[in-house]
Symmetry: C2
Subunit: 480 residues, 2 copies
């Protein structure tokens, strides 16, 4: 019990210091470690396994929709990055530059990709000639580097892992549909897989991706009222394509310019999981991506038959396709309970001599610690049902937090008051002028527009900032 | 037929110019494209799908053996790379240096990882404390950069994809066993998955990995008599661990230094497949990693029932777990035959009105173009058997090439004669002096020691170069 107490004590309570709570959780659960390169992290096995599960599910979905994976180079020549003006202005201040290869100074410096639109465009120019070559639905899983000043594990790191989809289409309509289709894929992934409800909408001009015509986003709400941009999907029109000279011959033998999209999600989703579902005992993982979905803890494991039965249940659950772990180490059950709670394992299965005599076991759900006695007959189905229940509880709690942390501001005064006192999303009307966004950000010390939702409400007729006629309802908030 | 002829004509015959044949195949089969960064390639969807299949099979095997995946940073500070003297001397001349982040010059330059021993050691120092922490069996799938002067698609590129396993063990014996165990995994992968027979052995001192105590290798023989180092497994002893100050407390409470291994295979295996199995019609892929294992080509597809039956067979084979494609495009069957031959699809299934009437189809094997009529009843099993047969044919042909391209040299004169006239492996005795290796390399314009095989033969008593007493039998050869 001494050890058990120690474990829990080491996590700073959320209410005391949210940032320290977060760092304690990522470190204690062994999700990551710091490296000697500023802002670059090591993703440890337990954290990486979450990413592998995310990858597997998303990759399957992308492929079902006709996407194929490729591998583009890590490095981009400066002249190539410079081809799209807005794009280079957005990214040049935050790229890492390679200037030397072996012992030789390079004639042209190369940046480590911060994103790969330019590389894809250069390749697409070579391989797109006819309408028969369209659409191109490419994706890549890779690392990118953005030289960030302030970093935070998973949420903002100088190097991170992501997938970037880059597609080309014969018509603007088709490209727009692809942009929204992928936003739907991300929405479904956040809600059905990660158990994180999201707001969906379009970024304002000042918040959109460098070089895009429109950026769509899914936005999640963390425990502490700070928003997380979960994934983005961009519609480029034919801007990049024109700059890169990409053309194709249409069915009428006319030369046309194709229309482009890109979309991505990254390892920051792991940060989103931690801050959406975690609690003062540590991590809480959604079952669909948890590296261990069920941990079996034998009770009185020295007694005859206990470990045999535990092993039997392990094999049974594994055969049913579950990610299961049996911990038969010498640590006490109490220590193990705390350990796997801290690691966020969705379900704990306890089995001891009394349970065996009754042909049952105990299932304990991580989020609400609900304890139930379950017959060993038909166990796998019962476990699956409990895992679904865990997912539902996580989603419901997160949805409640999202709702509780969403306020409406109709006046400038209300806006400033909420920004100062009620962390979360603020719904408020906006005139469309970037100057108002900038003013609100300055006045509040960082509250920015998050998105213009697909379903806008008419909360008022005037902009919450300048009082001029309102054009849009906007979700505002502080962001990670 | 015009189009069909065109396809085949575009591939330079192997005998005419092997290097051009190779480049034609990688380009025509759309495995890769060149990028605007010197020596860095784009892996196109068809090539990347081969890599994905390789990854899936190897990753599963690694995990069965207890390895877990992690993600280490892309960048290594110069001071960290410098920690192991031999290692830095080996790699520093071929790394890319990042000297600027955003608008700021870096205080310390960072190299893009050419390999990650130093990063793993730095992390292991932090997380290894007790015998309970051992062994550590980590692996990562990632990109690495080595600033190569001369590059060739897949075989030698400035950036490539690979896996690098890095393990730490309590004893030298355990680490040595791991080194050989992973060499066995690679051997099995080459022979049973890629259908490429390999020689297995130890590298000489001058050919081993920078900083390793011993390097083991699997070596394959290409069509043209040039060897390919397929994968390597290194035993480091406690050299790195001592330099990095990694220690652990053993069961007797004594401070000890752990023992280390690393092992890797890369996208160059795709080059190995091409040059082992390919022919003048193009690529030939081993079924286990072929993105398309069976292509269904309908004959007279406008006739009633043909496409329906083709679709039915497609669904049937897909349901049986096969990677199958139905090409119902408007191209002629002849064009399709040539196209999928060029792409190296192991098996072609033809189905036309006559076949349907007889309740059969035609299966054509890629390597030997063997044609058989197969009943539709029980088709999936027949297809699987034919795929196994394709694998066996590929392996047998490669084994015959390996044998035919292996010569024995007992005298210096014989060695030089074979090196000049019979491309392939040369088995010859060696005194153990690196000066003899250097001399033979100079005299032959590039024939180097490939490995000291596990089973040495006593071909002669004296070194093939200097005539002093022989210590080892060595396989020699030119390499990619």
């Amino acid at each position: 019990m001494a050890q058990q107490k120690k474990l829990v004590e080491e996590i700073t309570p959320m209410e005391e210091d949210f940032a320290r709570w977060y760092t304690d959780v990522v470190k204690k659960a062994e999700l990551m470690d710091y490296s000697s390169v500023k802002g670059c992290m090591i993703i440890e096995p337990y954290g990486y396994a979450i990413w592998e599960n995310m990858q597997e599910i998303l990759d399957e979905r992308f492929k079902e929709l006709g996407h194929v994976n490729v591998c583009m180079p890590l490095l981009i020549p400066e002249s190539l990055l410079n081809k799209e003006k807005e794009h280079v202005e957005g990214f040049a201040p935050e790229v890492a530059w390679v200037t030397q290869g072996g012992n030789d100074k390079l004639e042209e410096r190369l940046c480590i990709r911060p994103t790969s639109e330019t590389l894809f465009c250069e390749h697409y120019k070579k391989i797109i000639h006819s309408w028969r070559d369209l659409p191109k639905l490419y994706n890549q899983w890779c690392n990118v580097v953005r030289w960030e000043k302030t970093t935070r594990p998973f949420l903002r790191t100088s190097e991170f892992l992501w997938q970037e989809g880059h597609t080309m289409h014969a018509t603007a309509e088709e490209a727009k549909a692809e942009t929204l289709r992928m936003l739907d894929v991300y929405t479904e992934f956040f809600e059905k897989v990660l158990a994180i409800p999201v707001l969906r909408g379009r970024k304002t001009e000042s918040e959109k991706f460098a070089g895009a015509e429109a950026t769509y986003t899914v936005e999640a709400m963390m425990h502490n009222g700070v928003a997380l941009q979960g994934g983005t999907s961009h519609y480029f029109g034919d801007g990049f394509a024109k700059n890169f000279g990409i053309t194709f011959t249409d069915k009428n033998n006319q030369l046309q310019t194709p229309f482009q999209t890109s979309w991505g999600v990254s390892t920051r989703m792991i940060g989103g999981i931690i801050m959406t579902h975690g609690d003062d005992s540590g991590l809480v993982l959604p079952p669909a991506v948890a590296p261990i979905q069920v941990v079996i803890v034998p009770v009185a494991q020295h007694k005859p038959g206990v470990l045999d039965k535990a092993n039997e249940l392990f094999e049974q659950l594994k055969a049913a396709g579950l990610r299961v772990k049996l911990d038969d180490s010498e640590q006490s059950p109490g220590w193990k309970f705390a350990q796997y709670e801290m690691m966020g394992v969705p379900l704990r299965l306890e089995i001891g001599p009394k349970d065996i005599a009754k042909e049952q076991c105990v299932l304990v759900r991580r989020p609400d610690r609900n304890k139930s006695f379950v017959p060993l007959d038909g166990l796998a189905d019962a476990v699956k049902a409990e895992l679904q229940k865990v997912h539902d509880i996580l989603y419901d709690n997160a949805a409640k937090n999202l709702q509780a942390r969403t306020s409406i501001a109709r006046t400038h005064e209300e806006f400033l008051d909420i920004a100062a006192n009620r962390p979360g999303f603020i719904k408020a009307m906006w005139c469309g002028d970037p100057a108002c966004e900038e003013k609100l950000k300055q006045e509040t010390g960082g509250v920015k527009s998050r998105c213009i939702p697909f379903e806008e409400e008419n909360l008022a007729d005037t902009c919450v900032c300048c009082g001029k006629p309102a054009k849009h309802m906007v979700y505002w908030g502080r962001q990670y």
